[in-house]
Point group: D2
Chain length 304, copies 4
Amino acid sequence: MPYRLSRLGYIEVRVLDLDDALQHYVNVLGLIVTGREGRRAYLKGWDEKHAYSLILTESDTLGMERMAFRTVSPEDLEYYKDRLKKLNVPFATIESDYKRGEAIRAETPSGHTVELYYTMEYTGNVLPDVNPPPWPMDLKGIGVPRLDHCLVTAADPTKTIRWFENVLELRPSEYVLNGSGDPIAAWLWQRPAPHDVAVVPGPDAKFHHCAFAVETPEQVFRACDILAMTKTKIDYGPSRHGITRGTTVYFFDPFGNRNETFGVHSAYQLDPDHKPICWTEDALGQGVFYYEREIIESFLSVVT
Amino acid sequence: MPYRLSRLGYIEVRVLDLDDALQHYVNVLGLIVTGREGRRAYLKGWDEKHAYSLILTESDTLGMERMAFRTVSPEDLEYYKDRLKKLNVPFATIESDYKRGEAIRAETPSGHTVELYYTMEYTGNVLPDVNPPPWPMDLKGIGVPRLDHCLVTAADPTKTIRWFENVLELRPSEYVLNGSGDPIAAWLWQRPAPHDVAVVPGPDAKFHHCAFAVETPEQVFRACDILAMTKTKIDYGPSRHGITRGTTVYFFDPFGNRNETFGVHSAYQLDPDHKPICWTEDALGQGVFYYEREIIESFLSVVT
Amino acid sequence: MPYRLSRLGYIEVRVLDLDDALQHYVNVLGLIVTGREGRRAYLKGWDEKHAYSLILTESDTLGMERMAFRTVSPEDLEYYKDRLKKLNVPFATIESDYKRGEAIRAETPSGHTVELYYTMEYTGNVLPDVNPPPWPMDLKGIGVPRLDHCLVTAADPTKTIRWFENVLELRPSEYVLNGSGDPIAAWLWQRPAPHDVAVVPGPDAKFHHCAFAVETPEQVFRACDILAMTKTKIDYGPSRHGITRGTTVYFFDPFGNRNETFGVHSAYQLDPDHKPICWTEDALGQGVFYYEREIIESFLSVVT
Amino acid sequence: MPYRLSRLGYIEVRVLDLDDALQHYVNVLGLIVTGREGRRAYLKGWDEKHAYSLILTESDTLGMERMAFRTVSPEDLEYYKDRLKKLNVPFATIESDYKRGEAIRAETPSGHTVELYYTMEYTGNVLPDVNPPPWPMDLKGIGVPRLDHCLVTAADPTKTIRWFENVLELRPSEYVLNGSGDPIAAWLWQRPAPHDVAVVPGPDAKFHHCAFAVETPEQVFRACDILAMTKTKIDYGPSRHGITRGTTVYFFDPFGNRNETFGVHSAYQLDPDHKPICWTEDALGQGVFYYEREIIESFLSVVT
């Protein structure tokens, strides 16, 4: 099975006030605004090479409007059109969007909107193309380089996990299995990194968090310092996930959408024949909260 | 163009004495011996899931006997057979090798032996399959998790770079360009990480170094401490490469083959339409030795 | 006022079972046993140069039996004898103890036993005296280099703080002040480091924790990994204290005595005219738990 | 012997152009200008609590004009007046200087000017006095918190080392000993940290470097990145010293005075009865340059 998805391309998050949201996503996380149209702002991390990876949309509700995966090639987008037809998965074709070409849009069993696209304006990152320094010296706040992954909840997580696997051909890096051996939580990849998207038990159509990369455990501490100094509400962390091994801090945007900065230093190598790492249901707490070895209440109860 | 290579799979390195070599690769680097047959030992890092990534072979000479890329699927191996035939690139088919299935073997214009294979025994890493800890507590020495990349020299580097690009369809993440715009050095990837193999100017058929992953700048320092404490000859570092952004230390095995531990924390994301980062020829020094901003003499003169 | 105390020299901690205790303090914390006599074991970190810094004593109860400060010189011990006499502070003179010379012993208003001593066998650390490496390669567990500080609770913390300041002439690096401007918690130093001992509100004669040094935030994460992998109960962390700025993890020995590994990287410089950093009473939570910005319940309720 | 010196208080460095110097010391090192008078600027790190720790003076020559140690108390300054008189060491008394009280000034056998003082304006650091964050978010460049130590050269280093020990009562933390057992290099302390000042062989009256603190190995890498990005000439590093264990990078101000950022994470604890760590003369290279295990040529040849 070839790799047909390059990575999680962008997500759209609903916020109650766009200016307050930008104060957080720009000054605290350090994302860069690359466009603004009406009630929408387009942002990316300093090292991302396409037009955007995060859309913030002013709305009356919170949560994630959609997640979008970039295909490896334009042909892969056609492949998925055929595949969804063949599998009788309803989808819409969207001609174009801001600085983006054609996409197809479908819905997971859990009610999450998923898009696939190939074409987006290639902008380069913020560094020069020739003889660049390793990083830019004028970053704000945490200064995250890029979007890493997102996590969503599903009332019937097994069904949604299977949908991601069967329809989009995402691969499981790690599973939490119930007594029957069915995955009740899954970390799913296509890009060789521990996850592009994860699914855990919870209400349908809800958003758990979106994660941005940081490089090292020390940078996770620095992120926490900046969050505390800017009075950003920290949910959990610094800590380490057992599942994915990532170092982490969870925190909230001004409205309650959960963000994460995720330490990519510990990402493991993935081959196409990777056998998923398995966690027993009673070890879900330990898997997510490796130091506490038990579920933190807010993990399952606070979603948007 | 799909991804058809999953990663650099293994390399074979010639050493003058196998026991002395193991003392270094096992006790200093912390690799794990997974097999030994006569004058050959098979090793891997603790987090690798297939049988081996490094073959040490006792010989009268030093250097790299071969590098091997693992394909994404068995079909991709067939694809390359067809491709090499079509391109009139001579190659041999090798039925099997130690814990490995069929491979094809070709030679680069620079005289380096390259193999492609899909099948190798899946062993899992050293951690339990269920509810694993993030790392094993009983590592030796530096305790590297995995092979990362290798670097070779070529008398006509442009020709060999073009061979890797045209024949194997490796993609350039970074180029050093001469005045005519031809790459005289290239960092080439298929796995979305800055490089699986790199080519720099130098004598044909020579081995510059093989690199093993470490997670953070602090771990690069720790590696240097261990190298110094074990009286391992350090060539260069700790330092940072401008090209690939990796933190690094170069050192030698007991015979003079160069090794590297390479900090993967700063690896950037790669998309299929990645435009190579370019370095001018006069910036090669700065590109490789970001802090010195000039070529360290041994970089170009010491190869095996 | 001269510096008359060199540092917190040792503490004695009561444990229910000495063998189980050693399993924790030796294999998890990585302390080194330097002596054992009956129901007592003497331990130190690998970089400590005198015979011990921790005494573990088998007992029916938990908690700290005594803390001992080493004076800068033998004369300073005489100075304190005179001072305590002059101040009418009752004290005992103890001729000698295991590998230790004369000490004086007094009791704080909170009922904590404090000793002062100068003479203890000088053993050197575990490294060679000549041309030593920077650290030993054969450490167990976290491998802490030394004891850093201890923290105790007092029902009338102001009174005990004033006792440490007036009788022992410890200096405040940081205070939490109540509305009347009295310190209800204090971090006290003589050695130029943020604290040798701290006092917070709580029951009299109780032990809150003893802390051992680690170097960096990454080492705090590594300590947490080792604690989780050895199923050691983590109380809180990894995190950062606002007060002292230290990165931290709190955890428990097998019986419930609290330990800490404390990141010394962020220790600030202290001059004799240092004006204490002040925290308002409502900021105590933020001061201790910089990321949560509120008191973690166990901090005030769990003492031994 | 009591501690009578609190720390290296300030140094005065000669530069050829004050504006160019400030561009370096402020924008690259991140020091803060606290005063300017004519051809002199006064600077300090963000965490220093007195008026300044570095004086930059425009001059026709380079090098260090003077180093000054702060005494623990005003009485200690009187003690040293008496001591120098008794030892027939000539000294001058300077009534006052910029934001500083009385000082005494003497000359080492190597021709270095040393001052002792107690009184300097207490300014506090740049953080608020009440409920402060752990660090300020608006630092420039490397953002060093404080001066750490200085290193000077002496044609007869043993003589100058003995002067520091006998006259100023500095204590040796580490020695390089020649075949006769005499120290030809010494790291000297009073503040319990590996050194306030060091003396190595070289021309008389010359300045080797002044060092500013950074917290961790990762911060040493970050310092190197910033040095390279600002095209600041790096002399050596990142690396580790065997002597003092510090992680390090040496670099030059725009005129050729050597600076260091020194990782304080690995500072060891010092007691008054500390026996100096000894290095054999043939291990001097290894002692200073732990990874190369040999003297880097510029170390002994480039002084100002």
